[in-house]
Symmetry: D2
Subunit: 384 residues, 4 copies
């Protein structure tokens, strides 16, 4: 296991996570980050991860993610003595395409800083940890063995974050490799059977393995239950805190753990809640309440000013019903079902928060209850 | 002025409006209405209007509306001694296409009944009134003269509904004629200049005239302000209670007024609120509160059981911002902006209500504040 | 086996097939057919089948097909002493949704007439035959047994058409039942395993069974090769003359056979050619040449006047290549791949013919060479 | 007037244009160009222009163009001593988004070389010339004055190309600035009225001005006819050889002239033909015939091997008819009309050529006959 933290992640005596929410005019626009690096608000060498939403369609042919990532790495390369390729290999940049409805393109830059003040939050402060697994063999992708590999990386990232208890983890973003047609052929030539010959189906299996790997590491599912057959089948197994994407551009698993730790300082904390279905507005209010934020029905300006990031996973209910009423997302030949659900759940969450800069991602297999999903919120403490 | 009420609308000593919310399996499925007519729950001859949502794209090439209407009129024709064409001419069937996200295809059937119990609501009960204007000349469509014609029809529908005060009107659904290429040429041949040669633009003008006609009748705008130049230009002029659609299939203006009247009986009442923008969840809660319904953050089962219809108009903000954050609805070449906004606002309203059977319609020019819209809710009183 | 011909199909001493190509202003517009029935050009009781294209998206939520069918049957019901339901049960109305690009909504009405002149074509004239199979058990749908059932119906339709030799058959349109979620559950309750639990996949299997059933009846594949495992797997098996659609609205297989028969009279003949890929413009020219029509590169006005119907099946190449060049149809999250291929192949065929009223249908599994498809053309003889 | 050629364009005693058609795996993939630069087949310093098609939607939110351009300039920057920004300012990279149907993502790299052999073509060889105008004032964009400015740049590019006679020009690619909301406000503040406040409408005016500017320079329209009122109104005015795009990223007009010149050497020549409508397959054949290529109905392998680039402009006919048959492109709320027409015309042209790597661009106002467009083909001479 190679840990990113063992390589280059900044380490300080007193550590603080600094999340900064920035906006973009288009997927190639990094000007806000550039300005903050230039004025010293962000130190380029302290950036450890980026999570964001770009305005593509979120599907296979969404190139806004690649465009943004290329632009980001080129920008950082001008500030640091590393090539774009080196930077891309050590700084996870996880993007969800699709800003349907009121959603607004944005990104959260996570820095690991040495603390420059004495702020501490009771119960710990926001902590971030990273780990990269070794490459997953194509024959393992989307299987229980893949999940175990992800689980090990999650545990490593927890250690990197200084989080001792699984209960203190509130959001785990994982990017897993997936099976391309070429990889599948290569695997077959080596006598390995890929979990599915259909790339889209294989990608869903990869996300499932990632999610159940997180669930295993956090004690949300039992190792005995995590069999090959359970993936995409036993939907009673899930993590409340896993957000998984899968991409052709990587061969290992990249893990970002976010939680609260007494070993870290700073004003920020994180909370989460599972969402039972696409109408579970109660979960949104409850996650905010855990951070002392009262949405009745919407955050006021002061509370909104404390929000540093909102992360949501969701899925169209697969029997075509939301609380018994027929939905038409799965049958729409013109708009992809993931675009539908992101727009609807995004509309709900943005209305409670009072802001459209919400990370809403589909493809939530085993990530929250079936047909629902999860929400995590990062906020600073109240101004004294 | 021809009033539908003068022709065939049922008149009783004691009148009651009975709204029934039904669902459909597809746009040609009227089986729920057929069953209720057969079991006596609905009397076909008492049906005066239908408002619903079908699952098309809501655009020019959305034929789910025509399919549903044809199916409805054929069904009613089997129960009444009138042809489908005769029924279509006297029963307004106003449909909005597009059930994006969690929205669910449904329709509300409005009956005018003689009261069979002694129920009354303090402050009056739900009242419905109809009026059809004479045909609007093509040269007038989308102009101030068109608005005045609509205003007269709204006043007639108020009289039909027995509503004396404009404040007691809470939702006015209008269907106006629009300018086809053929009508534009015909008008020019007669020396009339159509308001626009672009059919989509002309349709927006027609909706604007309808909305400002409602606003004039309800005292929301002053007659002096309602000039030709104000349409689609002075967005400070609007009605909080107008919901306008425009269609090629009619030449007159069809008006349905819904409000509360002391002259009517029954358990149902209606309330409304303007929505300042696409995140105005407070307006949803406030409209519900006016009916004694508490969403904190969502209606409970008992409160949900009282809901008989929710009607929403909304628009993508035209400068590309929602509360300062960039939205991408207007620039999306793949998904029409109206589909985006319906999905987002529908997601928000459905989450507060706890049900996806919400009428959400775009094209809200002068219908609620610019970039926002309005919401109206019909609910029965609390069970004693 | 119930044959439609045994029930009500017109039978004459000297029979002639009269195909009439009509256009529509929208999917509910049957005015051209109504006018022809009223002026005597078409006798309603002689109508035996309708094949057409409507302007929906061609996918699951394309309701233009149901709308057109309902409108057609209501119209015919006003001219004949049968209910719409009775007419729908005996007159196949096969529609393909989606008029992408230059394609134009239209329909071909097939009449069986007694001949009123002495016209004969050397080598026989256009003949049409129909057959309806019994209901296919859900456990059989999409399997070899289903294909055998279709093959029997094709043979029956050939007998009905008076076509003795398989070589004289040039186009077989089949509509097969498919597996809905409800049917799948019902089958499982009875101990039958549906071929796939995924409705879209099951529908592809149903089309495959239909296509290979046609191939079997026409001697294009050997019965021994037609195993369950061959469906959707051995793409070297196909019919050059099968056009299959699959729908939830039927439980039996409806078969229309079109060919040339010496037992029929009239000016019309039919020809066909397989298409090797989406660029196989040579196949279009060759099919026309078989009818004595020279496209160099396009039909002239006189030749175009002889065309009575053009029917095309096509598919996006499944490895993502057309003659080695990457295509992007299968990866487009915004436009369904079938809409892409219909638009492209429709553009090619319409350009050779010189008219956009071409029936182009996707979903061509085992219907023509893999990644290609087929074309059939009906034309009258040259004016003497 | 600043001419690019006066700045850095390579100048040799004997000049040759070398067009190289390359493909990409995705919009950020320049590996084929990189390989050719590395193996010496292309010399980076000789690259003067790139024209290509990427796989986006071709609309406002198509970022594949920006992604490709950024990737191209970064790649060239690694081979040349210029920054990406400097390269972007001198090498026009004109991209059309949207590879609908059988179209395949690709790009043509144009090099200006010193000739290394004695090949000459009778009647001249392919010549390329560039010119950049000064910045167009926002108040001029989309007006006759803008067209005159483009005309001057076209004449300059002709001189740069060594083309003396307008008849020897066969394709002029122009990129014009357009009016953003910000530019419009700025212009109004300075007392200038933008041609339209609607950005899409203003962009169409900008393309119109570009096209009529080309027409003026080539003598296709008379200067007296080119008034402000003629733009987007008198569609009888057009260029048979203009291909215009308009973008926010530039403020001047970039012009690439392609033609045949006796002053150039090499095997390549170019020809063009106007297309009367979307079915004008005869124009495709005629353009090929001008180069000695016979499509009957498709190029054979030998002829296909001579093709170095095919460039097409097209438009959905604006009255909704193609040769009298109704098309549905303009009314489709789900698929943009430009995507429809590119797919259809691309299907036709690719079938005649036998290859999907065709540049097909929409937005063809005044570029070819109204409702039609134009085609230009570059091919090498027959192998001796």
């Amino acid at each position: 296991m190679r840990y990113a933290s063992a390589l280059r992640l900044p380490q300080y005596a007193v550590m603080k996570t600094l999340p900064t929410l920035l906006t973009m005019a288009h997927p190639g626009d990094l000007s806000e980050l550039d300005a903050r690096i230039r004025n010293g608000a962000i130190r380029a060498e302290q950036i450890v991860a980026v999570i964001g939403k770009t305005e593509g369609n979120g599907g296979v042919n969404d190139f806004t993610r690649g465009y943004f990532t290329q632009s980001l790495m080129h920008l950082l390369s001008t500030h640091l003595r590393e090539s774009p390729a080196e930077l891309a290999a050590r700084i996870p940049c996880i993007l969800s395409g699709g800003t349907e409805g009121v959603l607004s393109p944005h990104y959260v830059v996570f820095c690991r800083c040495d603390d420059d003040d004495d702020a501490t939050s009771e119960g710990g402060a926001l902590a971030i940890g990273l780990a990269f697994s070794v490459a997953t063999a194509t024959g393992d992708i989307g299987r229980a063995s893949h999940a175990h590999q992800v689980a090990a990386a999650v545990r490593a990232a927890m250690r990197d974050a200084g989080i001792d208890h699984a209960d203190d983890v509130h959001f785990v973003q994982v990017k897993t490799p997936c099976i391309t047609v070429a990889r599948a052929e290569e695997a077959r030539a080596q006598g390995m059977a890929p979990v599915s010959g259909d790339p889209n189906r294989a990608m869903a299996y990869a996300r499932a393995a990632g999610a159940l790997g997180v669930a295993l590491a956090l004690g949300e599912v039992d190792g005995a239950a995590l069999t090959d057959d359970a993936l995409l089948a036993d939907m009673s197994l899930y993590s409340e805190r896993a957000s998984i994407s899968s991409g052709v551009e990587i061969s290992c698993n990249e893990v970002i753990v976010l939680g609260n730790s007494p070993h870290w300082t700073g004003h920020y904390r994180i909370a989460h809640k599972p969402m039972a279905d696409a109408l579970d507005i109660g979960a949104v209010a409850a996650a905010l309440a855990d951070l002392g934020l009262d949405a009745a029905p919407q955050l006021d300006a002061s509370a909104l000013g404390r929000i540093a990031g909102v992360f949501v996973k969701c899925e169209p209910q697969r029997q075509g019903r939301v609380r018994g009423a027929r939905h038409t997302m799965l049958d729409d030949t013109d708009i992809n079902a993931q675009r539908h659900i992101r727009g609807a759940v995004g509309g709900m969450v943005a209305a409670v928060i009072g802001d459209g800069r919400i990370f809403v991602s589909g493809g939530a297999e085993h990530q929250g209850p079936d047909g629902g999903g999860l929400i995590a919120v990062i906020a600073s403490g109240p101004r004294p």
